[in-house]
């Protein structure tokens, strides 16, 4: 299987066209001979866009596996100090959608110590079965025992697809398990769809996000992918539980490990603004130091870091580590709300890579609106408190 060159159709002209067409520089034309080097990524650009018939895609008939032997959409439930990581619930929500297409059950599985309450909690989200690997030796994440338990789950349950949260733990564990199971793994999927034949369509950004790649695992099971936190939506928690808890045996063999956990420390809550996923930034529009309380309250409600512009630093309201801009930090959060910031070029240079930029400013001609995705023209002293109220009301519902 791969790209085949039809020598009889190669002319100097078609060869040159192909050499310049290949985005990876993998086609060479030397001494009248056209060849493909190891830079080929099989993007099939030469097949689709090149001179007709010179390059063709040759499929190889492989022995098809029996996909009906693999059933269920499974979610790895990650525990964080006694709580279910929220990405787990988001994945359960997606798993239910995917399973509905092919009438498969939805499974969750837990690996850890003293997991009863967590397993019970998962039954509020509409999974059919929660499988639990529970042992004091699994209390902390170490790669070999977790891989062994995960792999045991695959062997015994044979799920068709497995979804894992793309946390640092998930991104270390999932590839290890995929390699053991001899299957594929697609990282950081942003869209997942199910085909009638149980093939999972996995879409992810590639080449720095400028291209989307649609990936399938056509002849291997289980299908396996990781998804980042906050990509999908968590289902509503049902008051009643449904489904059942299945306890899985943890053997001595599984617990063998060449790694010992010496210490676990929680990280300090405050993170550098350049690492922040959400930022509330303010500038000269804020009139007095005590008004920062309002900004901090909004930031807390959004789980955001507070940042500011250079004039604020010069006034001594915040330390220099909080400054965004050419002479401060460069930030790239998923959301930045710029409050009372005019938007100098220096400031913009430090934050224009942000995914979603909201600006609140009284002046409709403020430069900040040129870089904002969403601009609100109005008084920050009216809009911000009203927004804070709405978020609080939303929490009480």
């Amino acid at each position: 299987m791969g790209i085949k060159i039809h020598e009889e159709l190669v002319t100097a002209e078609s060869a040159e066209a192909l050499v310049s067409l290949c985005p990876f520089g993998a086609i060479e034309y030397n001494d009248g001979k056209l060849s493909i080097n190891s830079g080929c990524k099989n993007c099939k650009m030469c097949v689709r866009k090149g001179p007709a018939g010179v390059m063709t895609w040759e499929e190889e008939t492989v022995k098809a596996i029996d996909k009906s032997l693999w059933k269920g959409i499974a979610v790895f439930a990650e525990e964080r100090r006694g709580k279910i990581h929220p990405v787990t619930l988001e994945l359960i929500g997606k798993a239910k959608e995917l399973a509905a297409v092919i009438d498969h059950p939805v499974y969750a599985f837990l690996i850890g110590s003293a997991q009863d309450a967590l397993a019970e909690e998962l039954l509020h989200y509409g999974v059919d079965k929660v499988f639990v690997y529970d042992d004091p030796a699994l209390a902390h994440f170490t790669i070999s025992p977790y891989t062994a338990a995960f792999y045991d789950f695959i062997e015994k349950v044979k799920p068709s697809s497995i979804l894992v949260g793309a946390t640092n733990l998930g991104r270390s564990l999932a590839p290890r398990v995929a390699a053991r199971a001899g299957t594929g793994l697609t990282a950081d999927c942003t869209v997942l769809k199910m085909k009638e034949n149980t093939d999972l369509v996995q879409i992810r950004p590639a080449f720095g996000g400028n291209i989307m790649a649609q990936i399938v695992t056509p002849n291997t099971r289980p299908q396996f992918c990781t998804v980042r936190y906050k990509i999908f939506s968590a289902p509503e928690r049902n008051a009643e539980t449904s489904g059942e808890i299945v306890r899985m045996a943890v053997t001595e063999e599984m617990l063998k490990s060449g790694t010992e956990v010496l210490e676990i420390r929680e990280k300090p809550q405050e993170i550098d603004i350049s690492e922040a996923e959400t930022i509330v930034a303010f500038g000269r529009g804020l009139q007095k130091e005590s008004d920062m309380e309002m900004v901090k309250e909004l930031a807390d409600l959004l789980g955001a870091q507070v940042a500011c512009t250079r004039p604020v630093i010069e006034k001594g309201w915040l330390g220099p580590k909080k400054q965004i801009g050419l002479s401060g930090r460069t930030v790239k959060p998923k959301l930045i709300i710029a409050i009372g910031i005019s938007g100098s070029v220096q400031f913009a240079a430090g934050m224009k890579g942000s995914d979603f930029i909201v600006a609140i400013n009284e002046d409709p001609n403020a430069g900040v609106f040129d870089i904002a995705h969403l601009g609100l023209v109005g008084d920050l002293y009216e809009i911000v408190p009203a927004l804070i109220e709405k978020i609080k009301e939303g929490r009480h519902v």
């Binding site: 099989n42 733990l169 594929g184 793994l185 720095g208 649609q214 790694t259 959004l302 909201v358 023209v377």
Partner: protein, 263 residues
């Protein structure tokens, strides 16, 4: 301590684009470079080798041009370098790539430690390190931020588990993937570059050189995942300006923030 550092040559920029009309990929002409994440694992490798009077060898898989990235590792202080290059390795996904690398390491002989960058800037999966460790049958830890101690038998490291730090003592041999900013990578030595003067030796390993290689598990053929199609993302960068009273503005902002799951 015998260390092998795995590196990759990546495109000089990630600005690859697809023409939405013709569907053709716009080729970028900027030359390849050493994956920036690998600089941190290389620095870890080189300083550990200095501490323990050990050696660093580097390994990469890629087209013949990828030798350029390996030369850079020699200028930084690696003792020797190996390039796995064969059309049979081409089109490989993570599974097939890590298998090929494990074959390469097997051909390189004894080692105590394998170091990889956290991820690459082109594939961006952060999966090859852990899969390689599985193929080699050794322990691994990802997201290493610090090496605290090393003895003849084990290594103690700190890893980043998002909201916590774990300190791990691991038996050797093992594999570590090193986080960005774990250290300050050294620059390639100009003196070394001048001494080598283009005569850097890169050992090339092809498919034929590997004993008992399973061709069906390498390259495109051996890749469980397949790219069905590539397409440009929706450019939803339209600008929206809202005017109105405080109720309308805060209400609309609240709705949009909820929709995007920020609240």
């Amino acid at each position: 301590m015998k260390i092998i550092a795995c590196v990759k040559q990546v495109p000089g920029t990630s600005e690859v684009e697809i023409d939405p009309v013709t569907g053709a990929m716009k080729r970028d002409t900027v030359a390849g470079k050493l994956n920036p994440y690998d600089l941190f694992s290389l620095e870890t490798a080189l300083s550990l080798a200095e501490q323990t009077n050990g050696t660093v060898r580097t390994l990469s898989m890629g087209p013949p041009q990828a030798a350029a990235a390996l030369k850079e590792t020699l200028w930084m202080g690696a003792e020797s370098a190996v390039l796995l290059s064969d059309r049979k390795f081409g089109g490989a996904d993570v599974a097939a790539t890590s298998l090929a690398l494990s074959y390469g390491i097997r051909e390189m002989g004894d080692y105590d430690l394998i170091l990889c960058g956290k991820q690459t800037t082109d594939g961006d999966t952060a999966q090859v390190g852990p899969e390689l460790a599985e193929k080699l049958g050794i322990e691994h830890a990802a997201n290493v931020t610090k090496v605290l101690d090393v003895t003849d038998h084990d290594i103690t490291v700190e890893i980043d588990l998002d909201d916590a730090v774990e300190v791990l003592k691991m038996h050797l041999p093992c594999l570590l993937t090193v986080n960005k900013d774990a250290n300050t990578p050294r620059l390639p030595s100009y003196v070394k570059k001048r001494e080598m003067d283009g005569k850097e030796e890169i050992r090339v390993i092809t498919f034929a050189d590997i004993k008992n290689a399973d061709e069906n598990k390498l390259g495109l053929k051996g890749s469980p995942t397949q790219v069905e199609r590539i397409f440009p993302p929706d450019k939803n960068k339209e600008k929206e300006m809202l005017r109105g009273d405080k109720e309308q503005l805060s209400g609309e902002l609240y709705r949009i923030l909820s929709e995007r799951k920020f609240v």
